[in-house]
Amino acid sequence: MSKKIITLHVNGKDREVAVDERESLYETLRNELRLTSIKKGCEVGECGACSVLLNGRCVDSCIYLTMWAQGKDIVTVEGLKDETNGDITDVQKEFIKQAAVQCGFCTPGFILKAVEIVGANKPYTRSEIKELITGNLCRCTGYMNIVTAIEHAIKHNMDKLGIPYEVQPATTSFDLPDEEKEKMLKDVLAMQNNDVTKV
């Protein structure tokens, strides 16, 4: 099959690439444009390692055809920078600071997802962040540091916007304060006694 020359808007620049129309977006970005931050993981849209930002929203590039991406704004980790000083973004700094990286394979996907989450300018709680990153799998970190890093990145953004936001301490049920433990116990007892007033 002959290749077609198309224009993709990647990381703020128009790039002309020769593509086979059967190619998926990650193949074009990795092989033609050498943007190797994008990782090939499961290839069925489950792991999120191949995430790219398309018009500001995370999409699995393994099940997205390159031809569909024409005219859309594509961003990969290579294109991230702090607009004010050209440094790496707050999200990336926090991933480093909070040790949210182990083997690093899932990290580019997580960072792009975090950029999308922070860019929404909403004061997401820990549990909301956990829900928002369900499309990305990490087999090393256990997610705790990743969620903490995203929370701190949101905090930086909220400070800039002047919106009050508190970073919640990362906890398991074992190290909750005593009053929290009592509340949980009460809930369990209410459930056992079939107390219908509590839902």
Partner: protein, 297 residues
């Protein structure tokens, strides 16, 4: 690289139908989150793909002059869940599509593909069945409207011809007005999971919020196609909320269903789920409608 014989980017619906009719070994691709995976697995390898991905007329949600809600088939799950009309009138549909795959899948996957795949496990299918949605199809012989109850013919099979394009879904005003719904998805994981069983309930209470005026309950994966439980619906109609009817409601729902063994779950487990999910979904819907009912969920 996907093993496809060609990719054709259709300009509009008519163009897509023309291309599909000309090439026998071709199929529609919209979001691609199912079709491209089937191609990759080899099931649809060698097929030609006619893409309706970038056709704007298939996208968006609007309300017509009669108050009916029209959902474009090419609308992605994220846009359905975040749409004002859906959030205001049928939030349970928004919740249902918010359980599909993961956030990335929901950016590209479309409701048209979810329904037209014919899968009984499709997360939008049970809610759309409860809402009695009309499906607008356009083919070489013009447009036709099929109600969702006549749409499914078997597992993965629908009445849609290969050359027909699903344009939109029409949800009539009388099917959502004053109804409050709940979608219950049971899966082994909270995300990126295909439903072991899905249950969608819509309930309408009387004005004093103490009697059930109408109930619609539809299941996914409880039978070869998404299907409603008519005897459970008839049983619950007119019941006072103070009556003890939940157990029997679950039993009636089970009697309407034909669950099967699969690698995801056994028949017996599905039967237990059908009963329990009927009760819990109904209770949650009643509470959303403003009714008070004694049951710990």
């Amino acid at each position: 690289m996907f093993d496809i014989s060609f990719l054709y980017e259709a300009k509009d619906v008519k163009d897509a139908i023309k291309k599909l009719t000309e090439n026998e070994n071709s199929e529609i691709v919209s979001g691609g989150t199912d079709v491209l995976i089937r191609v990759r697995e080899g099931k649809d390898a060698g097929m030609g793909l006619v893409s309706i991905h970038n056709i704007d007329e298939l996208k968006g949600i609007k309300q017509d002059s009669n108050g009916n809600i029209i959902i474009g088939a090419g609308t992605c799950f994220y846009n359905i869940n975040h749409n004002e009309i859906i959030q205001k009138h049928i939030p349970s549909l928004g919740e249902a599509v918010n359980t599909v795959g993961g956030p990335q899948i929901r950016q590209t996957g479309t409701i048209g593909g979810n329904i037209c795949n014919g899968a009984t496990s499709a997360d939008s299918a049970s809610t759309m069945t409860a809402l009695e949605a009309d499906i607008v199809l356009e083919g070489p012989n013009g447009e036709r409207i099929v109600n969702i109850k006549d749409f499914y013919t078997g597992p993965g099979k629908t009445v849609r011809d290969r050359c027909e394009v699903c344009k939109c879904f029409v949800i009539k005003k009388e099917n959502f007005e004053n109804y409050f719904g709940y979608y219950f998805k049971y899966g082994k994981r909270k995300s990126l999971e295909i439903a072991t069983l899905g249950c969608s309930v819509l309930v309408k209470l009387n004005s004093s919020k103490d009697t059930i005026d109408d109930v619609k309950i539809a299941y996914g994966v409880a039978a070869p196609t998404p299907s409603r439980a008519p005897s459970a619906e008839a049983f619950a109609k007119g019941k006072k909320l103070t009556e003890n009817f939940l157990e029997e409601f679950g039993e009636k729902a089970l009697s309407d269903m034909k669950p099967r063994d699969s690698w995801r779950a056994s028949k017996e487990f599905r039967e237990q789920l059908i009963k329990e999910m009927a009760k819990r979904s109904l209770v949650n819907s009643i509470r959303r409608a403003g009714g008070k009912i004694e049951y710990y969920v």
